[in-house]
């Protein structure tokens, strides 16, 4: 009988997985890599084991064996899509919460995945491999311009470069290959035709490992900066019914063809005429999974653990449907008005929004120092509302009520997005953020400056503003003085 789960991840996603584990009566084991001592998941885990690094397979397995965990949930990133890890987990007699290693290998190589999609009658973009020492120029001419150089071994925007003309090709290839080599240990690139003004639409799926599966509808993730998602939503707004049906049925065909097991996501590009093209499959839980959870009412981590613990049981017995609209934004310790440079620092003050239809996945605690050693995502804000317009208003409210002081964040950028007419209307493509927010350099209003200066002059700016101590820097008498003197200030 399964009693304990080791989560081979950190921060926000580890904490999110812990919640479902606890609700299912499973003990939680967290792992701690050097340098991550202040991380939030270390506070909340039932047990903590040290590892030499989050990517160290043998160290993670050793921790699992020591803890006697019978399940490992990999979260996203790190080892979640490493076939060698999935294999090592199974070999150690532990259940891996996710797809089979073979599926990761098949769908993890973007080229093999495209070939499989074509065999299943799922449209893909014109593309070409670049063989080692091969002729990049003739491959590029075959694919056509504009094109995208992409890393064969990974995603997240790393190793990606847009090339508009043949003259730009060789420098872009050098830069992309170097970045891919650094990020994934493999500098191999492939070329893919670029669709202008595409929408990035993905489908959440869940397979039983025997060829059957369900979809949990789609998400739109077109608001991206340099191919990194910033704002995601479910369902995709203004999507033609025919396109939606095509995407959902294509996703199920791929689940069947791969005999997919557990949760996964199929990513597509949709062009302005509603035609869609398969991009890749992510054989893991995704960062933006909460928007699907909020519109379908399904706890995806619950589904993952349930299937992993009882693979013969049917996970979804009730029909699934979409209700309302959900939006997620990612908060990062970076400054968009300074070229998105990382802005590490100490979280002096932290206040997350609360209220109806608001969900927060936090990766930080007040008093924690956020460095540059690990991912700089501070947390996710997710909102749900009965329809999209209300969800956008709710996201504005949630962002306005997010207070993170002591380090730079992209909150200002996200709130500016929530106030942009095209975002409010829900008609954006993947080029939108780069174009509309390219020179983002906001300045506070005169009134806001006045508040800042007045507070500064009165000595009210300080890291400890305490209500019930008689602080000599405060202009406001303490409550004890107030009541004692019986006078109004």
């Amino acid at each position: 009988m399964h009693k304990k789960v080791l989560v081979s991840n950190r921060s926000e996603i580890a904490c999110r997985i812990f919640q479902t584990c606890r609700e299912m009566g499973l003990k939680t084991v967290g792992i701690l890599a050097p340098g991550d001592e202040e991380a939030r998941h270390i506070t909340y885990a039932d047990e903590v084991y040290p590892v030499s690094g989050y990517l160290d397979i043998s160290s993670v397995i050793e921790a699992a064996l020591k803890s006697k965990a019978s399940l490992i949930h990999p979260g996203y990133g790190f080892l979640s899509e490493r076939p060698a890890f999935a294999r090592a987990v199974e070999k150690a007699g532990i259940t891996f919460v996710g797809p089979r290693a073979e599926t990761m290998e098949l769908m993890g190589g973007k080229i093999a995945a495209k070939e499989l999609a074509s065999r299943e009658g799922v449209p893909t973009l014109p593309w070409a491999k670049i063989e080692r020492g091969g002729d990049i120029l003739s491959a590029a001419k075959k694919v056509g311009f504009p094109l995208l150089l992409k890393a064969s071994a990974g995603g997240g925007g790393k190793g990606m470069r847009r090339v508009n003309r043949v003259e730009e090709l060789s420098e872009a290839a050098e830069s992309a290959s170097a970045e891919a080599l650094s990020a994934f240990g493999d500098g191999t690139l492939f070329l893919e035709r670029l669709v202008d003004h595409p929408r990035h639409i993905e489908v959440q799926v869940f397979g039983d490992g025997k060829g059957q599966g369900v979809h949990l509808f789609e998400r739109e993730c077109s608001l991206q900066r340099r191919h990194q998602k910033v704002w995601e939503e479910a369902p995709a707004p203004h999507l033609p019914a025919q396109t939606r049906e095509g995407l959902l049925s294509a996703a199920l065909r791929l689940v069947r063809a791969t005999q997919y097991r557990n949760a996964g996501t199929l990513e597509f590009l949709v062009d302005s005429s509603g035609e869609f093209y398969f991009l890749e499959m992510n054989t893991r839980l995704q960062v933006e999974h909460p928007v699907t959870e909020l519109v379908t009412g399904v706890d995806l981590v619950w589904a993952q653990l349930t299937h992993a613990m009882s693979p013969l049981e049917k996970v979804f017995s009730d029909p699934l449907s979409v209700r309302g609209h959900a939006i997620e934004v990612r908060l990062y310790a970076e400054d968009p008005s300074q070229g998105f440079i990382p802005t590490p620092g100490k979280v002096e003050r932290l206040r997350w929004p609360t209220g109806t239809g608001i969900r927060v996945e936090s990766g930080i605690e007040e008093g924690q120092t956020v460095g540059t050693q690990f991912d700089s995502m501070l947390g996710k804000l997710i909102v749900w509302a009965p329809h999209r317009k209300a969800a956008v208003e709710r996201m504005k409210f949630a962002l306005e009520e997010t207070v993170i002081l002591g380090l730079g964040t992209n909150q200002n950028y996200l709130l500016s997005m929530a106030n942009h007419p095209s975002v409010i209307e829900g008609r954006v493509d993947t080029g939108f953020l780069g174009k509309e927010f390219g020179g983002f350099a906001p300045v506070p209003s005169t009134e806001d400056f006045e508040l800042l200066l007045t507070a500064k002059k009165q000595g009210l700016s300080g890291s400890k503003l305490q209500w019930n101590t008689s602080s000599t820097t405060s202009q406001v008498p303490s409550p004890w003085e107030y009541f004692a003197n019986g006078r109004r200030n």
Binding site: L405, E450, A455, Q458
Partner: protein, 150 residues
């Protein structure tokens, strides 16, 4: 106080009527400002060693107060923050040489950090005096990339 930098950019301050806003503290670290003509605004502020973080009208801002540089008579502050490493990384490519003239915004070097690439741009128009780093060099926070004069 000579001025302020918001998100690394020097910004001019409005003239201030110190009596316009009455500020009180609320539990939870909030400040409420009230003006004579009935405007009420909620905000939050944190300051440490001349750097501040604020929530103003719902937006988060980060900046620093600039103090008079008595020696030069110009507003100082950490201008050289523009040309020093803010985080660990590696110099991937240097695009300028000693004595080159550059325009504000020109890319000077490319840094590889956290598996991404960052461009360091000229904070103002001027001339490169001396490039202080080499391609492939590992950088620590505080390392200076180059010297230039405006």
């Amino acid at each position: 106080m000579a001025g302020v930098k918001i998100s690394g950019k020097k910004t001019s301050l409005p003239s201030l009527d110190e009596k316009k806003w009455k500020i009180t503290q609320r539990p939870g670290g909030w400040l409420i400002a009230e003006s004579a003509d009935g405007i009420r605004k909620r905000f939050a502020l944190d300051e440490k060693r001349g750097k501040f973080s604020a929530s103003l009208s719902g937006y988060l801002w980060n900046g620093e107060w600039l103090v008079e540089d008595r020696n030069s008579g110009k507003a100082g502050g950490r201008d050289d923050g523009d040309l020093t490493a803010q985080f660990p990384g590696k110099v991937r490519k240097i695009l300028v040489r000693d004595h080159d003239s550059v325009q504000e915004g020109d890319t000077l070097l490319l840094i590889e950090a956290m598996k991404m690439e960052f461009a360091v741009r000229a904070p103002s128009t001027g001339k490169i005096l001396r490039v202080l780093v080499q391609e492939g060099q590992q950088l620590l926070p505080g390392d200076r990339f180059l010297e230039m004069e405006a």
